[in-house]
């Protein structure tokens, strides 16, 4: 039972006129899984999320929530979804309690369970103290929390959050991440974000979408593996011909960084560090710094999404 598919997206495409915003995307989310959805601006993240939640009809393909087709039986399918759009859909003139009661009623929470659902959602999102305040008077962070509370009030099977930590302070971000992890225990969560460490902190699986197509779908462990870089930063006392460094076994290419600093690229599993040290001693290059380069998640992301240009990493990693 713990392995059932709660969201299944099958060959879904979406056109805006001639513009193909989402191109034949397929993926599944299982119960208890937190899926991170990454992509540059305009990649199709929001469009995909809007299609899953029934806010936008797909041009082609099929979306099933808990086995229910969202186009055939929208009401039943939508009952299983909680959605926080990029812009939280809040009525500023209502108090937090009034608003959440309205959301609970809209999502058909039975009257008998309404108070409990309200308390639970407020407690989980840390809203208990602001119950009677007007949403319009709350800070951005609290408004965001009200948005999340709205998405989980009817304890849906699938919670979809579009950039949930935007505008929050670091402590709130940590709380929201903990909340997302907690939600992942019983619900499925799909999360879109620009903040890459957030993915590492909260998600089980990562998907990167670029120009409407899925370009990567991997577990966090797989992603960590990708982050093991394939570069060495080297600093030498003497100026050395690039070709001499290139000649070290295992080195694929050499990049001069100035002041006798170089970046060596090597093939996977063929770390030339030892060979380099030996050679340096033999030739008296005066090697005084040797740093294995680890790609940050940002760089993995940039590498994957910038497919047209060859991987060009920045030099910050040396620090």
């Amino acid at each position: 039972m713990n392995n059932d598919v709660l969201v299944s997206v099958d060959q879904v495409s979406r056109f805006y006129g001639p513009l193909r915003a989402v191109n034949s995307v397929s993926f599944e989310v299982r119960r208890g899984e937190v899926l991170g959805f990454l992509g540059p601006n305009g990649a199709g993240k929001t469009t995909t999320m809007q299609m899953i939640t029934g806010n936008l009809a797909p041009s082609a393909g099929q979306i099933k929530i808990h086995g229910i087709d969202i186009l055939d039986e929208p009401k039943r399918a939508k009952a299983e979804i909680g959605f926080l759009p990029e812009q939280p859909p809040l009525y500023r003139e209502l108090t937090v309690d009034e608003y959440l009661t309205y959301c609970a009623r809209l999502n058909r929470v039975p009257s008998a369970k309404l108070a409990a659902a309200l308390d639970n959602a407020k407690q989980r999102c840390g809203l208990t103290q602001v119950s009677h305040r007007l949403i319009g008077n709350l800070s951005k962070g609290y408004q965001q929390r009200v948005g999340i509370a709205q998405a989980i009030i009817h304890s849906p099977a699938v919670v979809i959050l579009d950039e949930p930590t935007v505008g929050l302070d670091p402590i709130q971000i940590r709380e929201i991440r903990a909340l997302i992890r907690e939600l992942g225990g019983t619900h499925s969560v799909i999360l879109s974000t620009h903040i890459l460490p957030e993915v590492q902190a909260t998600c089980d699986r990562v998907q990167i979408i670029n120009k409407g197509s899925l370009v990567m779908s991997d577990t966090i462990a797989g992603l960590t593996h990708r982050m093991l870089g394939s570069g060495l930063l080297v600093a030498l006392r003497k100026t050395v011909e690039l070709s001499a460094l290139q000649a070290v076994p295992g080195v694929l290419s050499v990049e001069a960084l100035g002041e006798n600093r170089y970046r060596l690229h090597f093939a996977e599993q063929q770390n030339p560090a030892e060979a380099l040290v030996e050679k340096s001693v033999q030739q008296g290059w005066g090697l005084y710094e040797l740093t294995p380069e680890r790609m940050s998640l940002e760089e993995v992301f940039v590498n994957i999404t910038r497919t047209e240009a060859p991987a060009e990493t920045t030099t910050e990693a040396a620090a």
Partner: protein
């Protein structure tokens, strides 16, 4: 079904949380009360002349009918201010996803919004109706004529709500919705003039479409099903158009 009332209740609540609704209630009430007193005063002053007439108009005909007639025009001017925010505001504040991702159909959203608006208009109708009803304390009224007049005003307001809702579904700018609602209502009102100036069949067809032309007979106590059907068709058309329009936001390309 329950979602319709949930949405309607929120709509009404939000209306009363803004000063606009209260202001409009107060202004309409003030204007109508002044006009009511004016009419009543004229009627009392004219008593000696009326006494000499063979078949003098009663108080219902002389006071209530003109009062409701004016109420219709006043509300025609003011109602767009109320209906403009029905969907425009949700579009502008991007709150529609809340309704779209809840287990609620487009029809339920529209009917909920419409019922909420109608509730407010019925309150205006009730407050206006209290004035002629107060005459019962001093005289007797033509109940049939009174009820037919109230029904006429009710139907007129329901039509205004329907067209306002549709206009509001077209744009994310409440003011644009208000102005276009106002424009359409004004057009439907002055269509009446086409009959008097044109006189040919084209003119009479246009006049037939006029929203106030079907109101007059009801004020005079002449209940014709054709007038009622006109209003019901009018309301139904614009509600269906609103539902289609809302659905198109999901299909947009």
């Amino acid at each position: 079904m329950s979602s319709i009332f949930t949405i309607a209740a929120r709509e009404l609540r939000s209306l009363f949380l803004s000063p606009l609704a209260w202001t409009i209630l107060a202004v309409v009430q003030l204007v109508m009360a002044y006009f009511f007193l004016l009419l009543l005063d004229q009627f009392v002053m004219a008593q000696p002349q009326l006494a000499q007439m063979e078949n003098p108009p009663g108080v219902t005909e002389a006071v209530v009918a003109p009062l409701l007639d004016t109420a219709g025009i006043v509300l025609l001017l003011i109602a767009p201010m109320l209906t403009m925010r029905l969907l425009s505001e949700e579009l502008r504040n991007q709150t529609l996803p809340l309704l779209f991702s809840a287990p609620v159909s487009m029809t339920e959203i529209i009917l909920g919004k419409y019922l909420g608006m109608l509730g407010f208009f019925m309150l205006i109708l009730l407050l206006t109706a209290l004035m002629p009803l107060s005459l019962y304390s001093g005289t007797s009224l033509d109940t049939g004529m009174l009820l037919s007049g109230f029904m006429g005003l009710g139907l007129l307001l329901a039509s205004i709500a329907a067209i306002g809702l549709f206009m509001s579904s077209l744009t994310a700018q409440p003011t644009v919705a208000a102005i276009s609602t106002f424009g359409v209502l004004l057009l439907l009102w002055i269509l009446d003039a086409a009959a008097t100036t044109g006189g040919d069949t084209g003119g009479s067809v246009l006049a037939y479409l006029s929203i106030l032309r079907h109101y007059q007979p009801l004020l005079k106590g002449a209940f014709k099903s054709v007038d009622v059907v006109y209003y019901l068709l009018f309301i139904g058309t614009f509600i269906v158009l609103s539902i289609r329009r809302l659905d198109s936001y999901r299909l947009q390309h």
